[in-house]
C-alpha cells in the first residue's frame, strides 16, 4: 500500500491536498526566498490523526514537516519535496482555561494572542508575545521557543510551557511534563521546546497563565545616537530595575516607522528607547522615576510618558510596525537575528555600521535592547547588480560579530534551513554530536524535519566524524512511494 492510500484511509478527502496548484500555497514560510513544494499536505483534526500520519511516514520512511501559521523567519517550516507537510490549522481549540491553576490547555494551531484573549476576563494573560502574536501558532512558538518584547522580565516560551502531548517520529503519542512543574525524569519537555520540529509534532500544549499586572507604564526616550541609548539601557539594568521591556530603534528604523504609521517620535532622534514597567503601582512609580533619571543622565534630550492606553499604543505602534515599514525605504531587506551580551551593544552597533559602510549597504536596527537581541535589517535593492550578495555578506558578518562577543546566532527566529551552516561556527563537532544523541533517541531514521538546524547530520548509530554529507535517505529519494 502506498503512503497516499494509507492516508486516504485515515483522513477525509478535504484533509488531504495533492493538487499541485494548492500545494504551492505552502511552499514557503516567512522566509520566502527558500521555496519547496511539498509532495503532500495533510490537515489533521485530532492528535490521533497526527499520530496516524506520522506512523505511516515512519513505516514508509517518508520525511514529514510540521507547520503552524508559517510565520517562521528561518525557513523552519520549509516543506520537504518528497515529504508530507502536517499543517495544524484545524487544531485550533482552546481546550481548558483554569485560572485557579494558572494554566490553559490548547491545541497547537491556536493563535498566540487568542490564549491571552481567553485568559484576560479571568485577570490573566499569556506572557510570551512575539511581534507576530496575532497570527503565529502556539505549536510554532513551542518549536521555536519564541520570545517577544516582554521576555526580558517574563522569559520565553520555555518558561511558560509545563506540559506537552507530542507525536514522536515513530508515531507514538507521548506526554512530556504536565500541569505541574518538576515532573520526575529527564526534562524532555525542555529539550523539545526550541527543537524546531525535529523531535516530533506537538499536539497539545499546557501553558502557564500570568496574573495581569496592576499597572503598566510606558516611556519613550529620545537620544542623539545608539551609544547613548545603549549606555542608558546598561544603566537601567545595573541600577537593579528589571523593566518588562526595553526596546531600541535607530535613526533609520525611526525614519521607516514615521513614513509608515506617523508615530510622531521626537524630531532629530538618532535613537529611541521604549521602556515599559509593570507591576504593583507603588513599585512602578518608584522605578519609573529612576528610569527617567537614568535616561536623562545618559543623554536623553526628550522623554515622553504615555498618559493613557491610546498614547501607549502609539508608542508601541512605531516599534511594532518597523519591520514591515522598512519596505517603504528599501525595496528588499534581510531580517537578521543575533544576540550579544548587553554591555557589548554600543561596540557591536558601531561595528555593524562600519561593516555596512564598507560594503555600501544600509542597516536599520530595531531590537530588544534589554536582552541584547539584535534584529538588524540589512537593506538592499535586488535590481542593483551585486547588492544582494553584499547584503548577504554583511548579514553573515553580523553573526560573526555576535559569536565573537560571546553571543548567539539566533535569539528567537531559530536556525531553520537558513542558519544551519552557521552552527559549526558557534558549536564544536562534539557539541553538535551531543545534540544528535538527543535527535537519534527521538528520531533514529531522521524523518522529522530533516535538513533543518543541523548542518550535516550523521546517521544514528554512526560514530561521529564519519560519513559526512547528505543523509542517505534524502539521497535515495522516496518520491516513488506516492
Amino acid at each position: 500500500m502506498t503512503l497516499l492510500s494509507r492516508l486516504q484511509a485515515e483522513l477525509a478527502p478535504d484533509q488531504l491536498i495533492t493538487d499541485r496548484q494548492r500545494l504551492r500555497t505552502y511552499e514557503c514560510d516567512g522566509l520566502s526566498h527558500y521555496r519547496v513544494v511539498p509532495a503532500l499536505v495533510v490537515l489533521p483534526r485530532t492528535a490521533a490523526q497526527v499520530a496516524a500520519v506520522v506512523r505511516a511516514c515512519a513505516e514508509e520512511r517518508v520525511p514529514f514537516v510540521a507547520r503552524g501559521s508559517g510565520t517562521g523567519l528561518s525557513g523552519g517550516a520549509l516543506p520537504h519535496a518528497d515529504g508530507v507537510l502536517i499543517v495544524t490549522s484545524q487544531l485550533r481549540d482552546i481546550l481548558e482555561v483554569r485560572p485557579a491553576d494558572e494554566r490553559a490547555v490548547v491545541q497547537p494551531g491556536v493563535i498566540n494572542l487568542q490564549v491571552t484573549q481567553a485568559a484576560t476576563p479571568h485577570g490573566y494573560y499569556y506572557a510570551p508575545d512575539p511581534s507576530s502574536q496575532q497570527i503565529c501558532s502556539i505549536g510554532g512558538n513551542v518549536a521555536e521557543n519564541s520570545g517577544g518584547a516582554h521576555c526580558l522580565k517574563y522569559g520565553f516560551t520555555t518558561n511558560h510551557v509545563t506540559g506537552l502531548q507530542v507525536v514522536t517520529p515513530d508515531g507514538d503519542l507521548v506526554r512530556l511534563g504536565g500541569a505541574t512543574p518538576d515532573t520526575p525524569g529527564y526534562d524532555l519537555l525542555g529539550a523539545f521546546v526550541g527543537s524546531e520540529g525535529t523531535l516530533g509534532v506537538a499536539t497539545e500544549v499546557t501553558v502557564k497563565l500570568t496574573r495581569l499586572p496592576e499597572t503598566v507604564r510606558t516611556l519613550l526616550a529620545a537620544f542623539t545616537g545608539t551609544d547613548q541609548a545603549g549606555a542608558a539601557t546598561s544603566a537601567i539594568i545595573a541600577a537593579g530595575v528589571v523593566p518588562a521591556a526595553i526596546e531600541m530603534m535607530d535613526a533609520l528604523s525611526i525614519e521607516a516607522a514615521e513614513s509608515a504609521v506617523s508615530c510622531g517620535y521626537p524630531a532629530g532622534a538618532g535613537a529611541v528607547l521604549i521602556v515599559e514597567l509593570d507591576g504593583p503601582a507603588a513599585e512602578v512609580a518608584a522605578q519609573f522615576d529612576e528610569v527617567s533619571r537614568l535616561c536623562a543622565e545618559n543623554g536623553a534630550f526628550e522623554t515622553r510618558v504615555a498618559a493613557d492606553d491610546t498614547e501607549r499604543q502609539l508608542i508601541w505602534r512605531g516599534r511594532k510596525s518597523a519591520f514591515a515599514a522598512v519596505g517603504r525605504i528599501s525595496p528588499d531587506y534581510i531580517v537578521q537575528d543575533g544576540v550579544i551580551p548587553r554591555t557589548a551593544l554600543p561596540t557591536v552597533l558601531r561595528r555593524i555600521n562600519e561593516v555596512a559602510a564598507e560594503h555600501g549597504v544600509r542597516v536599520a536596527n530595531v531590537f530588544h535592547a534589554g536582552d541584547g537581541n539584535l534584529h538588524p535589517l540589512v537593506l538592499f535593492d535586488d535590481d542593483v547588480p551585486g547588492e544582494a550578495e553584499r547584503a548577504e555578506t554583511v548579514s553573515g558578518a553580523i553573526l560573526d560579530l555576535c559569536i565573537e562577543h560571546g553571543g548567539s546566532i539566533t535569539g528567537e527566529h531559530g536556525v531553520g534551513v537558513d542558519k544551519a551552516r552557521y552552527m559549526p561556527r558557534m558549536f564544536t563537532d562534539d557539541d553538535l554530536d551531543t545534540m544528535q544523541l538527543v535527535r537519534c533517541a527521538f528520531d533514529p531514521d531522521g524523518i522529522a524535519n530533516p535538513g533543518k538546524v543541523f548542518p550535516t547530520p550523521r546517521l544514528c548509530g554512526e560514530r561521529p566524524g564519519h560519513h559526512r554529507g547528505a543523509h542517505p535517505l534524502q539521497e535515495a529519494g522516496v518520491a516513488e512511494v506516492f
Binding site: D182, Y186, D187, R211, A282, M423, D431, V453
Partner: protein, 387 residues
C-alpha cells in the same frame, strides 16, 4: 599512567552513596582532567558527588566503583555584573554564589551544596515562585559525557535558541548523563528591601495571595499534625512598595508583618539524621490543599511553595507503614495532576518501593540514556524507571 591512576585514591569510610560503599574516589580540578579521568575509567560504575547534601537521596546505585568528587573543580570563573551573568565551576559552593556583590543567583540552596549539584538535582526553595529554579536560571553548561568528550550547550546570553537546549536535559538528571563541570547562570539584582508576612491560615487562603496584586516572591506553607497551618509570604522591591504590599497582605490574611522569615522557612520538614521518610509532592495550585491535608493526616509535616504547587513532606515513619503512606500520597498527587517522589526512606524499604513512581515518557528517557551512556555506568539504577 592513566588519569585514573593519577587521580583516584582508595575510598574512605564516608565514601558511601545511599548505603553502597565505593572502591575509589577521584577529585579532578579542571574540565580537561575530568575528561581524561572519565575516559580512563571506562569499565567503572561512577557516582558524582558535590557537597553531598543530597547524595543519599534516591535509590541506591546498582554498582559503585568510583565517586567523582567535584569540590576541587571550584571557583567563580567570571562575574559579568553589567550582563547579570556568572560563570562558575561545578564544585563551587553555593555560599560563594550567595555573596556576589550587589547581585544574586536566586536559588535557595544550602551554603555547602555545590552549583553543579544544585543543577543536577534541580532542587528548589521558596523563591522559585518569583525566580524559577535552576532550570530557568541556567543559560549555559559544560558537561563531560560518559565517553569522556567535553560538550557545551547554551552560552553566556539569556536569549539563545541556537540548537537544542541541553541545559534543560542535564538539569535534574542526577548525574546520569555525565559530569557537569561548568555552569553559566543568569543573575538578579539583590532586592532593595524585603519583608515577610506570616499568618495562621489554611492552605486554601494561598489563592487569595496569588489573585491579589501582591507580586509575592515566595508563598510558603507549613502544616504539621496537631498544629495550626501557617502561610508565609516574602515581598521584595522598593521600601515604600514593599511596606504597602505587605500591609495589604497582612490585612488580607489576618496576619502580621515581620523583618524575618518564620523559623521553618527554607528548611526541610524531615529530621536531618536518621532514616526519615522524605517526599517531594507536586500538584496543581487548586490541588495543594488536598495534598497538604492528606499528608498531614498520614502524620507528615508539609512545607513548600503553595504558589507553584511544589511541596516537601516528611517524618520519621515506621518502616512497616512507609509503602502504604507513599501509595496514599501518590494517589492524591495523581488526582491533582502531579507526582509524589520519595527522596529518602528507611533502608529496609528503599528496595521495596518505586521511589520515583510512574513517569510519563519513560521509554523516550531510556532511549536518551542509552545514547548518552550506552554502558549505563553513570549512577546506575538511581534514576526513574531504574535508569
Amino acid at each position: 599512567m592513566s588519569a585514573l591512576d593519577d587521580l583516584a585514591v582508595k575510598a574512605g569510610d564516608d565514601d558511601v552513596v545511599a548505603g553502597v560503599p565505593a572502591r575509589l574516589v577521584a577529585a579532578p580540578a579542571t574540565t580537561e582532567e575530568a575528561a581524561a579521568l572519565i575516559a580512563a575509567s571506562r569499565d567503572l560504575a561512577v557516582v558524582i558527588r558535590g557537597g553531598g547534601t543530597k547524595i543519599h537521596q534516591g535509590p541506591p546505585p546498582r554498582e559503585l566503583d568510583l565517586i567523582i568528587d567535584t569540590r576541587r573543580l571550584a571557583g567563580v570563573v567570571e562575574h559579568a555584573a553589567g550582563d547579570l551573568i556568572t560563570v562558575v565551576r561545578a564544585g563551587t559552593p553555593m555560599a560563594e554564589l550567595h555573596g556576589l556583590p550587589g547581585q544574586q543567583l536566586a536559588l535557595d540552596a544550602p551554603a555547602t551544596a555545590t552549583a553543579g549539584g544544585t543543577v543536577a538535582a534541580n532542587a528548589s526553595g521558596p523563591r522559585r515562585l518569583r525566580y524559577g529554579t535552576a532550570r530557568d536560571l541556567l543559560i549555559g553548561i559544560t558537561v563531560v559525557r560518559p565517553d569522556g568528550r567535553i560538550t557545551k550547550s547554551g552560552g553566556k546570553v539569556v536569549k539563545n535558541v541556537a540548537g537544542y537546549d541541553l541545559g534543560k536535559l542535564y538539569t535534574g538528571s542526577q548525574g546520569t548523563l555525565g559530569l557537569i563541570t561548568e555552569c553559566v547562570f543568569r543573575l538578579h539584582p539583590v532586592p532593595l528591601f524585603t519583608l515577610f508576612v506570616r499568618a495562621i491560615a489554611p492552605p486554601t487562603h494561598a489563592a487569595n495571595v496569588l489573585t491579589a496584586q501582591s507580586a509575592a516572591s515566595a508563598l510558603e506553607i507549613n502544616a504539621a499534625p496537631g498544629a495550626e497551618p501557617e502561610l508565609a509570604v516574602l515581598v521584595e522591591g522598593t521600601e515604600t512598595g514593599v511596606r504597602d504590599r505587605a500591609t495589604a497582605l497582612a490585612r488580607l490574611l489576618n496576619g502580621e508583618v515581620t523583618d524575618t522569615p518564620p523559623p521553618w522557612w527554607d528548611t526541610p520538614p524531615w529530621p536531618a539524621t536518621g532514616d526519615a521518610l522524605a517526599l517531594k509532592l507536586t500538584g496543581t495550585l487548586s490541588g495543594v490543599p488536598s495534598l497538604v491535608s492528606t499528608a498531614v493526616e498520614a502524620g507528615l509535616t508539609v512545607r513548600g511553595s503553595a504558589g507553584t504547587g511544589v511541596l516537601y513532606a516528611g517524618a520519621p515513619v515506621d518502616p512497616a507503614a512507609t509503602a502504604h503512606v507513599v501509595e496514599v500520597l501518590r494517589a492524591v498527587a495523581t488526582v491533582v495532576g502531579g507526582h509524589a517522589v520519595v527522596l529518602t526512606a528507611p533502608p529496609s524499604v528503599r528496595g521495596m518501593i518505586d521511589m520515583w513512581g510512574p513517569v510519563p515518557g519513560l521509554d523516550l528517557m531510556r532511549r536518551v540514556k542509552d545514547r548518552f551512556d550506552p554502558d549505563h555506568r553513570f549512577a546506575p539504577g538511581r534514576f526513574v524507571g531504574g535508569i
